[in-house]
Every structure is written in C-alpha cells, then in structure tokens.
Symmetry: C2
Subunit: 648 residues, 2 copies
C-alpha cells in the first residue's frame, strides 16, 4: 500500500552534529526563573524580540509531542481540529467589545489599504462567525472544534521566557450547544473536556492540580484552571488535602466560621486623629493595633442590584454595600457580588463622598441610621470575643470622619439600634439568602444567629481565602497554600459570544434558541516551561518521557571509533524499533562537556559508549533522575532497561 | 511501555455529524478558479477577511498530511525542524534592506511601546541571526533547519482562494555552509533538497514539473521552481519534451538561431510621423507593419559594468546598452545582464534623454557614431532575410527623433560604418564573450559571423522565450508552453544574508569565511489548492490518496438502522486497522444530497451501505475517479479493494 498509509511508527534517530543545540554556560541577563534559564542554556529557545522566542529543534520536538497528545485527547473527546487565521478584522472584536476589553494587549495591524486587524489572542469571535455561517439547523449541534495555534498578546512587560511572552502556542477549543444539561448539552462536553485535560496532563507526566477558578474577562458561569505544581509558580492556589478541593485565591470558598456580634466592650470608644496615613499597617502601628484587630471597611455601589430584594427592610433596596473584613484580609468582589445576589462594583470615590462616606475613614457604624446602606460583614470580622484566647476583644475601625479612626469599637454597642431593629421577616430572609451563605445558614448556631439579624446586616464569606482557613469541603480540615503555573483553563461561556453576534438556530419546535458555548484553552508552549519549572535540578532539566525531545541520549566517547560507531548503530537501531527516539552526541568534545550538556538538556536516559565498557560487551546506563554514576549494562539488555525507565 | 511511545498507527474514524463540513451549493461571489470554488463549496475553507482563510477540519487534515510528508522528507534530507516567531523586529529586515524591498507587502505591527515589527513573510534574516549567535566554529557546519509556519504577505489584491492569499502556510528551510562544492557544501544540500522536493511531490501524487527559475528579490545564483501542472495555473512555463528541460518564461534559454545582418534593402529608408502613439501595436497599425517586423529598442544603463571589458573597443567601456528585439518579443533584463557580464538596469528616462536618446523613438542606428553605446541584438532581430519566405525583408524602427519612426530599415545599410569597423581583436573577443553567447559562438555559422562583428555590436539571446522557440537542449526540438502553479522554490543564496549581518566563522586554517546559504520554500496551503486545480471534475474534487483528508467515505443510507450501523462499524474498524482513515456520512439527509457531497469533497473511495446490498452481504464500492455507478463487493473483500485503490 505504498508509504501513503503508514501503520507503524519507528523512533527517530538524530546526530547532535546534524541539528542545532546551542548549549551555553550562561543564561541571558534577563533570565530569572528556572525554565527561562534552563531552556536558554540548554539551547531550546532563543529570543528574537521582547517576549518573542524561536523554538529551536529540541524545544520544537517537545512542543510537537505535547501537541500530539493534546490532539489525541481532543479527538477522543469528539473534537475536530481546524485552523483559523492569526490576522483578524478588528470588526469581529468590536461586535463583542473585546477590542476595548483587551485594550493594549491586542496587537493591531493596519494593512496597506488602512484596514485595521488584530493579531488573535483567542478566537471566540472568529469561531462564532464561522459557526453562524456554517450551522443552520439544531441537528448540526452539538459540535466541538479546536486548533493548536500561535497566539499574540502585547504584554506590557514580557518576562520569564516562555511563561509570559507575547507570541505563544495555545490549544483553544470551542463547543456549541442548544442546552446546558442533558445529552449534547454544554455540561456534557465541559465534563468531557475536563476529563481530556486530566488525561493530557497525566500522559505528559506532570504533577498538577485542578482548581475552581474565576472566569475573568472571558466571561461565563463556571471555569476550572489546570495548574502544574511548581514552587516557582506565579499563581497561588489553596488546597484541602482531605477532600481534594482546590481553588485559586480569588475563587476559593472558606469553610464555616462561627461568629457573633454579642460581647462586652473592653473600654469606651476613643477617637484617634490619624491624618495622612495611607495603609492599614501605618494606622495600626500608630494606633498600636494589629491589622487583625482592625475592621477594613469598603464601600461598594450596588446600583439597582438590591432594588427588588425581598429580604431588605421597608423603604426599598439599598444602593450602598459597606463590606467589612479584618485588616489582614482582602475583600473579594466576586464574593460580595454572590452575597448580595447581583452586580456590584467598588464605589466611585467622588459619588461616595457626595453620599456622605468619609472614604479612607469609613467604619461599620456608618450604617447606623442610614436606610440606603447594607452592611456586609465577613464572619472573621463579626466577632466580639477572641475565640483563641476565650476573652473579650476590641476593634479599631474608621471613625466615619476624615483623618480619624476609633479604638475600642464593639459591634453590639456601636451598631446599637441597628442590631436591635425589628425582625418580623426573618424567616423569609433565611430562604432568600444567596448561594454559599444559604448553605451555611443551615448549620446549627449560624442559622439561629442569622435569623436574629436585622434586614440591613448580613454576615457572609466576602474575603479571599488564605492558607490555614477552614476547608469548605471537609469539616476540621484547613486549606494549604500551594504554588502553580496555569497551563489550562476551561470555561462555560453561555451565550455571551453567540448573543453578541446574533447566532441562534431553530430548535425541534421551530423556536429560535441562543446557541450556548464553552471554550477550553491549553497553553502548549507554557506547558513546556511549566514542566521545566516542575522538574529540574541544579544541573539542568529532568524531562518526563512524554515531553522529552528524545528519549535516550547516546554519548560516544570517541565518535570516530568504528567499534563505538557500530555499537551505537546497533543500540540506536534497536531503540528506534521500539518507538524510542534517540539523540547521538557525536561531537568531538571532551567527555566532561558532553556529560554536562547531557544533564542540561535532561533526556530521561543517557547511554555512554566507551572502550572499556564495550570490551565487556556493555554500555553505561544512567537515568537522568538517578544520582551518581551510571551502571554497566550488557548491550543486549540495554534496550529493555531503557524501555523500563521510559514506561514508568 | 504505556502510551508515551507508540509504534503503531491506526487509521482515524470520524462521523460527519461530529465534525464541521459546511458544504454549499454556491461558491462565494469572488471565487473564479476551480480550487477556490471547490474548496469553498466542499466546506474546506471559509474566508474571515480579505485573503485570510480558516482551514476547516477537512482542509486542515489535508494540510497536516502534506506537512507530515514534507517533514519526513526534510528529516530524511538531514534537516531539523524548529519554529521562529511570526512577529519580527523590523531592524532585522533593515539590515538586509528587505524592509524596503518588500515595501507594502510587509505587514507592519507597532507594539504598545511604539516599536515596529513585521509579520514574517520569510525568515532568512531571523535564521541568520539565530545561527550567527549559535554557531561559532566551522565544525558546526553544514547544518540545515526548516519550519512549517504561517506566513504573511499584504498582497494588494488577494485572490483565487488559497492560491494568492495574505496568510498562508509554508515550509521554509535554510542551509548554512563553508563551501559551495564538495562534501558539506551548498551544492550537496541543494541537490538533497531538490531530491527531497521531488519525493514530496511524488508521494503527494501530484503531476509536476521542475523548472529552471530566476532567483528574483530573494537573491542568489541558482534556483529551481516546482510547478504543479494545471491548465488553470497562473504561471507559464516552457518545456522541451525531447530533453525534459523546463524553465519559466523569464529564465528559459532559447536554442541556437541563425542570424545575419547582411541582406539587400527593400526600399529607401522612410521617416514616418508617429506622434503620441504609445504601443508597438498602435505604431504598427498606423505604419501598416506587423509587430514581428518592428525592432523594439530599449536603452539600458550598464554603469561601470563594461568598464574593464577587454572585448570592448578602444576608448574604454560603454555606459549605454541598446537592446534590440522583435516587436512581438520581450526584452529579458537578466539575459541582457548575462550578455554583458555585469549588472544593468533600464536607463533612467531623464538621464537617457540628457544623453541624447529620444526615449520612445530610439532605433538601432543610434549606435552609429557613438562610442558610449553597446548594441545588443537578439538573433531573431538580427535578420535581413525572411527565412520562412526565403526573401528579403524590411524593418520598422525608431527614428531616434521624437514622434518619428522609420520604415525600410536595413541593418547593413543603416549601421553602415559600425558594421564595417576594424576587427583586429576578433579572436580575443570570441573567448571573452560571456555565458550563453559564448556557447553558441562555438556552433558553425554563428561563430564565423560573430567573429566578424565589430566590438560595439553583439548578438545574443536577450529575450523571453515563447512557445515554438527552438529548445536549448535538443537540436530540432521546439519549446512547448505549459501552465502550472508554483508550489516550491529553492535557491542558492550565497552570502547575501550572512554578509549583510556579518555572519562568518573561522575555518580550519583560522581564516574567517563568509557563511554560504541556501533556502528552500514549499507552499503547504498552496499545494492543497494546486492539487485541486490539477485534479477535479464538474462534480467536485478528486483527491490523490496522500492528500485526501480521509481515504474512504462510508455513506449510510439509513443511519439509524442497526444492521447498517453494525456493517459500518465492522468495515470502518477493519479499514482503520490497515491505517486507512474513514469518514462516515451518518447524516439524516436524502441519498442524493449525500452522494453529491461525496463527489464534492472528493475522497478516493466511497462505500455505500444500504439494505439491498447488505442482504447479499455486500456494500457498494466506488472509487471517486471511476465514472458511473458503483460495484457491489462482498463485505469481507471490500477492505482489500480499498487498499488496492489507495495504493495505486
């Protein structure tokens, strides 16, 4: 059947002298992260411009192997590959407003006729345009397509080599559905992609964590990040070892925390003059209060979000949400949004001042006597007793007056009338409380106290999680911090893009339906860098077999020696028969140079062919991971030993 | 050994309903060429912007198959794959002056910091920069690298779908050498690339011609084009069927043609007033002379090229070269350059006028009495007898006076003293005549007459070849015109790029040597289009097996029928075992629609599974190339039949 159709795959054999591996003693001056340093020194990459790298032959082989595994798992998940253009008419991004949302991150190209184009950073708009023209019946859905493509983002400050560059290789997949649930729905494909990602990263031999994530500017209702675990990673994630729950800091839920506003005051409220102090730390130092004993208070503008809220007191919805967390915690806007059940944004400073908020000096007491304020308190801030010490405590807080703070703030005393206000509709509120809060309201203690709260005060998880916080999934467990590098991110997009371009189809009942989308990104070049961050030592890279550019390096001590050449030909030929890729170091260099380079490029196995071992019918066998010297292995057993290591 | 290392390859099986094949009855309004029309209608491509196409799943599979064959042959030829950036700092192109040479063809991108970049149309500068930094010893050469990459050219008027677009996929290879000849030299790699290209296009199943070509703006000393033969091709090539010689029009040599200035005049020279006539055709019509009987005369500026020419008459080199061809022929600047043995350019009109040339009305007689003119006459213009009719002839020519031409021009009479001038150094000239002319000077007749020519007249092949011209390689044969589509172009670059960036290395003798380069381009996306131009009928594409997105299409008459599904599963599974890729048309459409689409997408074999045939244990088997109805083939023999067709 000629060579048109091949059914077998031999490993590849390449001589070092016939490829380009410019190893170097020194890394570029701007290289700081291990992957940037090692990929540069090992001759994998070369910088052509700021954030623009050439993938030299070794890197390219690794990227092709990553791509191939991605391709196989995408196909297994029912997706079809295609390729969209890199240069895209700006009009497509204008339809969704992403020309502005991306702003300067978008490379812009004006062609000779003056027409503006963007270099695609991601292709939701283009694929939606294609589908809008290609799909005219519900029968053609669901459908998932993907591409493996060079993408462009004009980063302000590219850095860390392949980790944050301006031109990079990404797999992006897009799925189209008529429903969210059920057969053919978004959730089914989302789960299939999730599973495909897990298989990809497992097959690549990476240590990774799947993380609940925020959707960010891509939009959508749910998303997961896939993070390669590496100490040097720029992303912080929180993990519960008992339940396997993991989330990034922005998304991470926090387990139930007991809270109470009831408790004795430790002293009289004291106003302190704190002029020109910018940070919680400055004020704390001046007032001799730890940040953990201060109430950080931020004013949000809820607009119309609370207008129709039945849980809110007579007089209609509040516009202002005053969020209170401990001084050593950070307010999480998404959680604030979830807690009030609608959109919310940090208040415009000017507008807030006009409404009577002493921005910079706001404290919880601002809610007293104001019908237009909803007070939202994090459980850790809703305390009147120091639970660790079992005794009464006090807070420092803003005095609601420019340049002033207060000491000895006590919730019960300072909120006074607000906490005592009538509570005739408590049961209704309990049902209507949104999301996470509602669940915690069912726990004993919390619900009892919550039911006692007046309408204009709520206690809810509204801060970023930290290491040591209680796990939201396993009672008694705490969250542990871990660092990682994001290599995949999948999203339930919903109708954001299809509605923007007006892409709908008629369903079985001739009703026009918005098409529901998912999108699924995987950083191919980033995965190579993440792998190096995860797996290296002081001598160089340590590649997992699946990502290694070649599986075995054969080092010839005397490249010109016929006996060594013959042994090399035999061993490399037998390895190739097994599908194993072989690089032969045939350079006329000192052994020390070759061994150093071998460790640097990090292939899983090094075989050394030298006179002494050869006289015994053996070669030196050394897995890259193993310490110390190699082991002499008879030539006729060495292929099996290599296969063992590579199959691990 | 886990799935990290695979030694077998199964064919792929895909259902039509799970991929995107938006076939259409109508092609886009701007589609005129067969490949544009058929690739659009068959759902292979979709236009996203002017000259920007998405490769939908079927096209992408074909492109991957082409790429894979290119990859295998490049590796077999000793080249290593890498990938360079698409966005390239403009400074790199400035070093070689190609930022200006490309001009508006270069897409330019200004980044957020205002730095200018180009979108790479080809990567000579980038790879030279990489090698300059990576190579520091002659021991590291020779080396050949390649990439398969999306390239960008801002064509003024993109057209013909994938044939002339602004974003396209190309394989570009670059080789680096210390010598031209001998082991490791440029010629060795050039020949290896030439052979690899032949194998690639043979394996792809294309009908193609290798053509001697001009290097054009890429530069260099030799080049060959690989053209897919197709009537609709935009390139015209000339072929000698006896010798196998083929060349493009610009490069094609022309066989020996007898010539003579001697011959009787047919009448007195007559001056004709020809004001405001722009073209040879206009003037000819007005003067009642066919273009073939007119002497088209063009003035070139040789600068210093002829300064040291020993063949030139006393008084030093001439600056002006007056080139004369028949009115129905075109002067070929490269041939003019070869004939004088140095650089030459069409004269600047203003300068030429200042030097006394009546531009637009120049005739050969301008050389009489001017020491600064070399008269260069094409053999077909150096005639005084109509050889076909065997009788005397006359010419029309420019009168060397504005708005005037002459009739009854006769070489012997009009050149008078110039032809009779002394000839003491004729033997020296014969040796020194450059290139092609020198070879022809050895032929009987030609040389005798040439030796008689005075120093300031030369007869040489200086025009573009046409169909019907004598073959330069086989006496008595003529050139035939053929149309083709350029899919490959290889160049001996020499030191143009390495010298521009100052890339040299020390050789064995510690002497600094310029590095010598070759470059080798292959249009991957263009090859797909060329294949369709070459191979289609009125119903659709007819794919060679190697380029077909899938090898076999199985059409299910009743996709929901369990018996048909079972037969399909069996046949497709067996085909996949043989490495054969299968597309299953499982759509609920009328058989007519499915059969039309099958012809349109053009897979090599269609199998139809229907109740009637199945009752006899058979399926309908129909190669795309065969006319008429399919043939019933027993299920257990159908895989072998498919393999037969695909192996042809």
């Amino acid at each position: 059947m000629s060579d048109t159709i091949a059914t077998t795959r031999r490993g590849e054999i390449k001589k070092w002298s016939q490829t380009l591996i410019p190893t170097a003693r020194e890394a570029p001056a701007d290289a700081e992260t291990p992957s940037h340093i090692l990929l540069s020194r090992a001759g994998f990459i070369r910088r052509t411009g700021a954030g623009m790298y050439s993938y030299l032959p070794l890197a390219w082989r690794s990227l092709m192997k990553i791509s191939q595994i991605v391709r196989e798992e995408m196909e297994a998940a029912g997706a079809s590959e295609l390729l969209m253009p890199a240069v895209i008419p700006i009009e497509l991004y204008k339809v969704t407003g992403r020309d502005e949302a991306y702003g300067e991150l978008l490379f812009r190209v004006h062609d000779r006729h003056g027409r503006e184009n963007a270099l695609g950073p991601t292709h939701e708009e283009v694929i939606t345009d294609i589908f809008q023209h290609a799909i005219n019946s519900y029968k053609q859905l669901p459908l998932t397509v993907y591409q493996i493509q060079t993408k462009f983002r004009d980063e302000f400050r590219p850095r860390a080599g392949l980790l944050r560059c301006r031109e990079f290789i990404m797999k992006d997949a897009y799925s189209f559905h008529l429903t969210v649930d059920g057969p053919g729905g978004l959730n089914e494909t989302y789960d299939a992609q999730y599973a495909a990602y897990v298989r990809v990263f497992e097959r690549l031999g990476l240590d990774f964590t799947v993380v609940d994530a925020e959707s960010g500017p891509i939009g959508g209702s749910a998303s997961h990040e896939f993070m390669v675990n590496a100490e040097s990673g720029e992303d912080k994630i929180l993990v519960c070892d008992s339940s396997g729950y993991a989330a990034n800091v922005e998304k991470c839920e926090i387990g139930e925390r007991a809270w109470s506003f009831e408790g004795e005051a430790l002293g009289d409220l004291a106003k302190v003059h704190t002029p020109g102090m910018a940070s919680i730390e400055d004020i704390g130092r001046f007032m001799k209060v730890k940040p953990a004993n201060m109430l950080k208070t931020m004013v949000f503008d809820a607009g119309e979000s609370l207008a129709d809220e039945p849980s809110v007191a007579p007089g209609g919805g509040q516009r202002w949400v005053v969020a209170v967390v401990r001084g050593n915690h950070d307010v999480n806007e998404s959680k604030v949004r979830d807690a009030i059940g609608g959109p919310v944004a940090l208040a415009d400073e000017k507008e807030a001042r006009a409404a009577g908020f002493a921005i910079g000096y706001v404290g919880p007491a601002v809610a007293v006597g104001r019908d237009d304020v909803l007070l939202l308190v994090d459980p850790d801030a809703a305390q009147s007793t120091d639970s660790a010490k079992g005794k009464a405590m006090f807070w420092a807080a803003g005095a609601n007056e420019a340049d002033h703070h207060v000491k000895f703030f006590n919730w019960q005393r300072e909120l006074g009338g607000l906490l005592d206000s009538s509570d005739q509709d408590a049961s209704a509120r309990r049902v209507d409380l949104p999301g996470a809060s509602a669940r915690r309201a069912d726990l004993p203690g919390a619900s009892a106290r919550r039911a006692d709260l007046p309408a204009r005060i709520r206690v809810a998880d509204i801060r970023n999680a930290n290491a040591g916080d209680p796990s939201p999934r396993a009672e008694g467990s705490i969250l542990r911090e871990q660092r990682g590098i994001e290599v995949g991110h999948i999203f339930k997009l919903g109708c954001k893009y299809s509605d923007a371009v007006g892409f709908g189809v008629l369903d079985q009942d001739q009703q026009r339906q918005s098409v529901i989308m998912g999108c699924y990104g995987l950083g191919v070049s980033r995965t190579l860098a993440a792998c190096v961050e995860m797996s290296h030592d002081e001598n160089g890279i340590i590649f997992p077999a699946a990502i290694a550019p070649y599986h075995v390096l054969i080092t010839l001590m005397k490249p010109d020696d016929p006996a060594q050449q013959e042994a090399c030909a035999r061993v490399s030929g037998e390895l190739a028969e097994q599908g194993i890729d072989v690089l032969i170091d045939d350079r006329e260099e000192r052994p020390g140079v070759k061994f150093k380079d071998a460790d640097l490029i990090g292939l899983p196995v090094r075989l050394t062919i030298g006179d002494k071992a050869l006289a015994e019918g053996a070669v030196e066998f050394k897995p890259r991971r193993s310490a110390g010297k190699g082991e002499l292995v008879p030539i006729d057993r060495v292929v099996a030993r290599c296969a063992d290591v590579l199959g691990d």
